[in-house]
Symmetry: C2
Subunit: 325 residues, 2 copies
Amino acid sequence: MGVVASAPAKVILFGEHFVVYGEPAIVLAIDKRAYAKVELRNDKRVHVRSTNLGISGYFEDNLFRLETGNEQAKYKLEPIKKVVDKISEISGKTAGLDVEIRSTVPVAAGLGSSAAVAAATAMAVAKILGVELSKEEIFRITYEAERIVHGTPSGVDPAIATFGGTILFQMDTGVKPLEAKMDIPLVIGDTRVSRSTRNLVAQVREKRKRFPSIVDPILRSGRQIVLRAIEAIRQGDIRTLGELANINHALLCAIGVSSESLEWLITNARKAGALGAKLTGAGGGGCMIALAEPDRLEAIAEAIQRAGGTPYVARKTDHGVRIES
Amino acid sequence: MGVVASAPAKVILFGEHFVVYGEPAIVLAIDKRAYAKVELRNDKRVHVRSTNLGISGYFEDNLFRLETGNEQAKYKLEPIKKVVDKISEISGKTAGLDVEIRSTVPVAAGLGSSAAVAAATAMAVAKILGVELSKEEIFRITYEAERIVHGTPSGVDPAIATFGGTILFQMDTGVKPLEAKMDIPLVIGDTRVSRSTRNLVAQVREKRKRFPSIVDPILRSGRQIVLRAIEAIRQGDIRTLGELANINHALLCAIGVSSESLEWLITNARKAGALGAKLTGAGGGGCMIALAEPDRLEAIAEAIQRAGGTPYVARKTDHGVRIES
């Protein structure tokens, strides 16, 4: 007897990197979800197991005992403990818990896996402890957990994990839901090349410092891509979204954040019939996305696979964090 | 006993396509030259042979007789007849001539081969007829010959072929010499994929019409690349030129004029140590250029060869049209 909750992953459709300079970005919840199963224990331990990461251990009296995995495990499981603590604090109840994480979200690929895990855990723990939490509260708890992982997160990942759907994000105005009735069929291609978001952001900052008069108009072009994309989403115009994806990707190349592995998957996705393809997230490795008519998705996924990437056919989802059982 | 004259080919270093919208471009004369050897004949025929194109024939009483090649030959040899006629007109002298064209310039690759041939022919014919022509006159004759080939040429190719060196070109101000003391070592990679400049220019026009607010900032960024490049050339800063080449190429991708074959050569040139690489000219095929330290040129040429392109190590030349013997 336990409670299972889930929350969605995200892809950045347009505007990554440019958001750092105040430009808007469009982010999508996708139907790859993280699942948290929570059960009450007879002791006071908070036991956490992540089947995907192959790590487990428990927290007791604020000490961590490793069971499976290496010393990194504590660092990776701590946000989950943070979520449990936060809910105990709100409810005034403490209990020993078994938390089991399963996920269909590729990890460390810029798809918001950690936020999805935190949001799902928050909802499941609240449910089993009999606490009523609003979505806003889950968002805030997820955001706090993300701070452990990311330092100063933008809030995009927690918002997507909690609310689902499509959002417009901008530094100074924050998260704004975007009406998006159309389906946005896409294939994610994971290069499985690891990269440092921090370094890539620093690299772009350096390029902008060296060439401000060259980079600033590129940022303005990026803003216009987002504004035009909002219109295309409203009109259900997947072809225009594809064209805009190609332009956006070229601008990301201009600021130097693509990589050979990304280019290779993108080229192959386009050849397999994608209407447009771009890197998503920090670049330098990580993931790309291809937009396509639904009947081309499988062919594109195959092309990405053949090119050495890991493909995930994905769809926009409006389902944010939810109880599964 | 004859006269040999030669004239240089060109590469566009920065700003192709954007020039159509009034932005500046930087163009370089390179040490690949077209040679015209002219000899007097005893009859009134103007006999022309192009060893590179494998065509020959003669003009007599304004009729063309084909000797070698197909019906395209007349169209290709006509500009040379035009040059001869023009100089006969200026000098008041007519004579039968043998004109032989040899060239180290790849043909129909956007490197200004036809202008180099016309300029070299003009100088050699003038010399053998004993006419003193200023460079301005040769420029004008070359420009007129180019009109047969290109309709409304920009004047860039005739200017480079005649004057050599480095020029700044802009639609409304025309050709302006640019002081460039530094060596600009580069490798040209010919994809040998043919393309239509006309179609590519039309395609960009279409994209700009669809997305003016997205494309216009890209054009402004392109202008700033040229301005920054002028500074880098003045400072002899080949590294910055390389960086700018990479950014410029990405902007050309954004307006949709790169191609798989170009990307492949560019990727391989960068991996072989190029400081920067970009398509040059119309795109969609044709040529790319890689900027590099002199000691990397051979390795880059080899990489381009291995990738299926035809490489040409080239250098900027200040020698415009000239008599060779």
